[in-house]
């Protein structure tokens, strides 16, 4: 673990995503379909920062994070743009040269997956997973490796004896915590988390979030995570990006996003949060998220937007810097949170 002073030294950009476009391209029984799951997204993440990506289901946020992780398989393909990491001077261009990502995996970049109770191989003992994932990348001898793993588990409040168990012998919450331990054992600079708390009950959720935040602060790593659950964003994100229909529509520090949302869609997401002592009924947004194979023209939100004007139907609003963040809306800032 790094000292606090060392952790604070970690500043500057660690992830740089530029004009990233990733489409599902399908050709099945003569039907050609192109789904623009990630459509021209640019963002960057600083060291020691927790960046949350929010959006409804099927908004393309999961595809975005998979593309960033370099974990896409056909039919999802990167059409344009780049994803570059800078791990303390180790530069990795994910879609530059093939295989450049492999050396960085787990050593610099790890992953917490959706449904992480099922990510451990059911027919191998837990310790084998640690060996497969971490041992190869840490460059330690076995004699050094196991004490490190045990120490790490203890720090996370886990009994090192679980290493001898098979996954099915452990509870769901325990497996979730083990996955976090597995993802952090190499002290990576960057952690990607895909819906880390979905499908967990509320108490375990709290527990897991606390654990992630705790580890991140101690190691000074950066985290990018996606979830549709705005309460999770409120709990741990430093900055939030809002994704709608494959595009980034707003981005900013979480305080600003929650207090003064600029985009009508963000405002809707915020207002749908229940608040203590508020008797008002939450209003649902009319319509469904658009079909990404055939999205509406121009601003993709306009069919559902309460503030839509004619311009929204003809011209796509660019993502422009505004005060502390960025927003893509012709009527940015005109919204009021109820």
């Amino acid at each position: 673990m790094l000292t606090t002073a060392e952790a604070e030294q970690r500043t500057g950009t660690v992830l740089e995503v530029k004009n990233l476009k990733a489409y599902y391209q399908m050709n099945y029984f003569g039907v050609q379909r192109e789904v623009r799951a990630v459509d021209d997204i640019t963002l960057s993440i600083k060291r020691n920062e927790v960046y949350g990506i929010a959006g409804e289901s099927s908004s393309g946020k999961s595809s975005l994070i998979k593309t960033i992780a370099g974990a896409i398989n056909p039919p999802l393909r990167v059409v344009d743009g780049s994803v570059k990491f800078d791990f303390d001077g180790n530069f990795v261009d994910v879609y530059g040269e093939p295989g450049s990502m492999n050396s960085a995996r787990w050593r610099h970049l790890s992953y917490i997956m959706q449904g992480s109770m099922n990510v451990l191989n059911p027919v191998r003992r837990v310790k084998r997973s640690f060996e497969d994932f971490a041992f190869e990348h840490m460059g330690l001898s076995k004699a050094e490796f196991w004490p490190r793993v045990r120490q790490h588990l203890e720090k996370l409040g886990l009994n090192p004896n679980v290493l001898e168990a098979y996954p099915h012998q452990l509870s769901g919450g325990m497996r979730q915590r083990l996955t976090i331990a597995l993802a952090t054992v190499c002290e990576p600079e960057f952690i990607i988390a895909d819906e880390p708390t979905t499908a967990l009950d509320v108490l375990v959720q709290q527990d897991v979030l606390g654990l992630i935040k705790d580890v991140q602060e101690r190691m000074g790593s950066s985290i990018i995570f996606v979830t549709h659950d705005m309460t999770v964003h409120a709990a741990i994100a430093d900055r939030i990006g809002i994704v709608y229909a494959g595009r980034l529509v707003e981005e900013g520090p979480s305080i600003d996003i929650f207090r003064r949302p600029q985009h009508p869609y963000t405002a809707h997401l915020i207002s749908s949060l229940p608040r203590l002592g508020d008797p008002k009924r939450r209003q649902a947004l009319a319509g469904k998220p658009p079909n990404l194979a055939d999205p509406p023209p121009a601003c993709r939100f306009h069919p559902r937007c309460p503030l839509a004007i004619d311009k929204c139907k003809t011209d796509n609003p660019p993502l422009v810097a505004r005060e502390t963040g960025r927003v893509a809306c012709w009527r940015a800032g005109e919204v009021e949170v109820s």
């Binding site: 050709n27 099945y28 029984f29 003569g30 398989n73 039919p75």
Partner: protein, 285 residues
């Protein structure tokens, strides 16, 4: 239905080849209605004639025209296969859907019996049936017995689908609306189960034809009724290979292998069309 067929023919090469093979063999088989010879009569023609313009595929040592023999044999073999398939699909469908629908303990009991029947070696049992029936064995009885020995595995597959349908909303609605179990099964569940029935039918057809060929080759069904296996049996009895009458054994083998290939290609391409997961994989490839 026609759209599905058209799509499959246009975009799935396996299906196209399978379809062409099977269709041409079906046409070839139905030609036997116009056969110039009685296909059960023997010593009509000069024996042991090699393939020639007069006898396209030659003649047997028993003075039969091989071209017309195979045509009739394919027809009989296919009739047998389809009979078995229809009977065994009815058994599998009934057992599978009922077991899945009632669920719980009843389902467990039925499936335990089902698994037991799967575990039995079916060929020795079939041979035992033949052995005790002897001359009274005809193709219809054989079809029923083969059907009885080949529905269990598919009943299991159908049952797993029925089990999931049971928990669906519309099943509950139908029950509340006063529909009886047979009504729910036939009207509500049947449409979901049919694609699987169709796919398993292809495999069952292949299995049934295999059984018929095998038993006929061994001489365990009426050998005067032309079948592919029966032809090979006669050829073996006459030592066709040693006597150099290779066409007697080669052409029936080619015909049956082509039939199996055609049916198999149809089976796998239909399966691929039905199974959403392999569809996804296909998009990736």
């Amino acid at each position: 239905m026609f759209k599905v067929l058209r799509d499959l023919l246009r975009y799935n090469r396996e299906f196209l080849i399978g379809f062409i093979l099977t269709a041409s063999l079906v046409i070839y088989a139905s030609l036997h209605f116009f056969s110039p010879y009685d296909n059960t009569a023997i010593y009509l023609l000069p024996p042991d004639m090699p393939p020639s313009p007069d006898y396209w595929l030659g003649t047997t040592s028993r003075g039969q025209d091989i071209f017309w023999q195979i045509s009739a044999a394919l027809w009989n073999t296919m009739t047998f296969g389809i009979t078995v398939t229809v009977i065994s699909r009815m058994l599998a469908l009934t057992m599978g859907m009922i077991s899945g629908y009632i669920g719980g303990r009843g389902d467990r009991v039925l499936m335990t019996i089902n698994d037991t029947l799967i575990a039995l070696p079916n060929l020795p049992i079939l041979l035992l049936v033949y052995f005790v029936m002897r001359e009274q064995m005809n193709w219809a009885i054989l079809a029923v017995v083969t059907a009885c020995l080949s529905w269990n595995y598919d009943a299991r597959i159908i049952r797993s689908v029925a089990l999931s349908l049971r928990q669906r909303e519309f099943t509950r609605h139908a029950v509340y609306a006063g529909m009886s179990m047979p009504q729910v099964l036939v009207r509500q569940h049947m449409p979901y189960v049919m694609p699987i029935v169709f796919f398993t039918a292809m495999n069952n057809l292949i299995f049934a034809i295999g059984i018929e060929v095998t038993l006929a080759v061994l001489g365990f069904i009426d050998l005067n009724r032309p079948t592919i296996g029966g032809m090979i049996n006669w050829a073996n009895q006459h030592q066709a290979i040693v006597a150099g009458v290779w066409w007697w054994i080669a052409f029936p083998i080619i015909a049956i292998v082509l039939l199996f290939l055609g049916l198999f290609l149809l089976a796998i391409s239909i399966n691929e069309y039905i199974d959403p997961r392999s569809r996804l994989a296909r998009m990736g490839g």
